[in-house]
Symmetry: C2
Subunit: 332 residues, 2 copies
Amino acid sequence: MRIALDAMGSDRAPAVEVEGAVGALLDGRDDLTVVLVGDRDRLEAELARHPAAPRDRLLIHHASEVIEMGEAPATAIRRKRDSSIVVGVNLLKAGEVDAFISAGSTGAVMAASLVTLRTVQGVDRPPVGARIPTATGRCLALDVGANVDTKPHQLVQFAELGSVYAEDVMGIENPRVGLLNIGTEPEKGNEAVVEAYGLLEKATHLNFIGNVEGREIVSGKCDVLVADGFVGNVLLKFYESVAGLITAMLRRELAEAGIQLDLDRIFRSLDYAATGGAPLLGVNGVVIICHGGSPPLAIRNAIGVAAQSVDRRMVEHMAARLARPAEGSATE
Amino acid sequence: MRIALDAMGSDRAPAVEVEGAVGALLDGRDDLTVVLVGDRDRLEAELARHPAAPRDRLLIHHASEVIEMGEAPATAIRRKRDSSIVVGVNLLKAGEVDAFISAGSTGAVMAASLVTLRTVQGVDRPPVGARIPTATGRCLALDVGANVDTKPHQLVQFAELGSVYAEDVMGIENPRVGLLNIGTEPEKGNEAVVEAYGLLEKATHLNFIGNVEGREIVSGKCDVLVADGFVGNVLLKFYESVAGLITAMLRRELAEAGIQLDLDRIFRSLDYAATGGAPLLGVNGVVIICHGGSPPLAIRNAIGVAAQSVDRRMVEHMAARLARPAEGSATE
């Protein structure tokens, strides 16, 4: 299996990417090859710092350009044909690799994937998922990648894609699907979710458990949380920052009281980024987006998640699921 | 000044309400009278447990019915004309009290206020505000009361109302208004917020600072955060639950490590409910909604906030602000 890794994407690229890739290779399966996509000279220099790296399974694919975070995605992927993101997605499209991972511009990865890989038939807009930690495990929230003004039938597509991901990659059988809403009654919410509720109820092959309120997410009420990208994105970013605020408050208190407590360890399970990035679902290929501030561990875990997605043939399952107009399904 | 308090609203009514009211009267201004609205016999029995209560300033107004949390608001306020919520709002409408506070059904309080008090001219839908704790103080987020599918010009009305509240009640001069969005650029977001951005930019009497992302809320980037009620409500409920999850994790760790740390004290500043409830803004009267799980302190603080709102003539200021079609304002 070959996984392409955008080596120029993160805030501390390429050091973080190289360290993450080396870790994944040393600790993981023998049939795995990582293709680092980026500036060859910089990557060679970085690799020189990892003498133990298995170079036969750690290749470099040169890409001369980098798409910056501030650039408009559509323009950037058109103009920077030799950027690590565009080149990496092209490798996936050409079948030279089985998956692509990037900690660069989410918008650019989404745009390149959409244009080059295209969506699985039956998917209008590929959502980005995030595995939010809950009291009992994890919940895949999607979309958190900011597909806005999502239509009701597109929310149903998110439910289908999320269910396959939860089964294949998170190992959850018959995952419980919840619809993010402001109340539990079917008639609650805005126009889009009220209509989506009706469609989801009819999609009997899904394990739809109804509406899930903001306060119920972390209690572990559902495995797949369906949401429009506007609210999903706001929620995820807010969540990160609240955890940060609380940790900062605690650190101050602990320091004042002279108490030693390893907060990083305690809160590790809350760190969604460390759990293997955010999958872009519903395109023809395994694509994983990592946080720009990812540590090497996050990259390493993302490689593991990508390998699992390929192994379990997630994309095939999504295509099969979305293609059949299942009874009651709303993929029209 | 007379403030009506729904004494039957909270999860532990009327004990919590009575204790909160007694606290506010003993510790507050001498010209304050609290009118407890609810079952006279139960309230007399409860008051008997507070011998120090200043009974000359603590009156009972009998109401024989209670609207339960699960009831459909519109139906409930029509059928239960003698409920504590309907009676309390009627007292405010009749000018017998200057403000009304309830920890009962948010929907019923909103519905009764809308029908009986009506909105200030120029306000389509009254938003509910919540004071979210930030690293530097507090930020009024509105709407968190679930006005969904909010139109762009209604988001501008939220900005106007929030600015007046921030000035009058939170004491913030020229409050910075932010628009909750998924990115900082003006073109980001769904259709409603993109259009609202343009309208807010033209409303030069507002101190509009642009888009605010989910992660920027708790950093204190703005004083007034404008949002559709769907995302605002989800965010607020999620926030409460995340804080709860983190506290539970910590409590377990601290217990295991045998460390004494008063988490309640540390996290008190995060408890938005304790800071005086959530104002319903844009109706002709001071109305404050408290959490069903409010402790007595939250009720007491809500009484303080209500008194401040009346003192500063907040409703008059809102009416004056919304009535004038200020240059560039979008209150059409």
